[in-house]
Amino acid sequence: MWRRLVSSHFKSLTALSPSSHSRSASPALRFAAAAAAAPSSASFINRHVSTQSGGKVKLRVEDVMPIATGHEREEIQADLEGRNILEINHPEGPFGTKEAPAIVKSVYDRRIVGCPGGEGEDEHDVVWFWLEKGKPYECPVCSQCFKLEVVGAGGDPYEHGHH
């Protein structure tokens, strides 16, 4: 029982570290978006049932946890689809220039972004700023360019506090 508990969390931890390592190893762009970057367990469920013919049957949330509801259900659903709900908080890409700015996705019309600079020697202390829709921003230290892409409902993040 103990082993199962421990290994299942090791699984989520090791799944987590490759992704964070790959983030820093990726060519250049190093900018960090600052919403609560949850240490979400990437792919903690790896469920694909193999049929005899070798094909894979896609599982539904009901097959994994029938009574799942709310946020838990969404989490399982996203995991089965192979997508990371919180990937919007970990943008990756090459160093942003004026012609090809670094794209930061956002649910609202503006969000806080932090620029850590370029690769290796070009790193600097994180510079935080508000990135607004329609207003591309240039980092005052390393001149990396950022642009907001609204993927959600838009609006001001502080309007309509949560219910």
Binding site: R4, A68, G70, H71, E75, I85
Partner: protein
């Protein structure tokens, strides 16, 4: 929805239970002191306070169940909280009981002249460890095995068997408590009988209290399992109960060896 929440955590809604628990604790402590100093109304206040605390526990944890099982707020990261939080809690309980073990060994390893320079003290008729204690220890151990059986059943998705296993666990626990009660009743010495009586009853008494708490926790788990709350992916409450139960079990083993067996020689 998590999409609108943008994070996997659970920001709890405002709740009256923390303040109600605090008020209950206030009533308990003040009432307790009043009672102990024979003030009028002390006993009433004390019992009201205890009842209020119990009520708070009931409604607070009911809210937790509602938020987790019925509303789905307990995502993977949220589950880590209670899971890894129950470990320090159990450790704190170990520390608490350790104090009583230390008290016992402090007095028994170098018995003072007042008790005859021997342990058990002169005149104390100790319980024979080969009688009820020797029966009760394996009873508790088997209930520990039963709770492991229940866990495996839950993990395997065998919901009915898990209920049976939990019923077995609780039954054994209740038998244990019954026998302990009987033993207390029949004991030839009381808590007032020298340091031996004090340490014996405090150590075994608090252990028994923890057994009762653990039994209650397991009963709740049994009810939840019956209602279908626990799934093989997600049963943090059950795991916490099982860990607590194993801790109770281990303490019993230490108790048996150090207080019943060694302490009686």
């Amino acid at each position: 929805m998590i999409e609108s929440q943008r994070h996997s955590y659970h920001l709890v809604d405002p709740s009256p239970w923390p303040i109600s628990g605090s008020l209950g604790a206030l009533a308990t402590t003040v009432g307790g002191v009043m009672y102990m100093h024979s003030f009028q109304g002390g006993a009433t206040l004390l019992s009201l306070g205890l009842l209020f605390i119990l009520y708070t526990m009931f409604v607070w944890w009911r809210d937790v169940l509602r938020e987790s099982t019925l509303e789905g707020h307990h995502t993977k990261v949220v589950q880590l909280g209670p899971r890894y939080g129950s470990i320090p809690f159990i450790v704190s309980e170990v520390m608490f009981l350790f104090a009583f073990f230390r008290a016992s060994s402090h007095s028994s390893l170098a018995p003072t002249v007042e008790i005859g320079g021997i342990w058990p003290p002169k005149g104390i008729e100790v319980l024979d460890p080969r009688e009820i204690p020797f029966l009760n220890t394996p009873i508790l151990l088997s209930s520990g095995a039963a709770v492991t059986w229940a866990h495996h059943a839950i993990l395997a998705g065998k919901e009915k068997r898990a209920v049976y296993a939990l019923v077995a666990t609780v039954s054994l626990a209740l038998v244990f408590t019954g026998f302990q009660g009987m033993e207390y009743y029949q004991a030839p010495f009381t808590i007032l009988d020298s340091i031996y009586g004090s340490t014996f009853f405090l150590a075994t008494g608090f252990h028994g209290f923890h057994v009762i708490i653990g039994t209650l926790f397991l009963i709740i788990c049994g009810i939840r399992q019956y209602l279908g709350h626990l799934t093989k992916e997600h049963h943090v409450g059950f795991e916490a109960a099982a860990w607590y139960w194993h801790f109770v079990d281990v303490v019993r083993l230490f108790l048996f060896v150090s207080i019943y067996w060694w302490g009686g020689i």
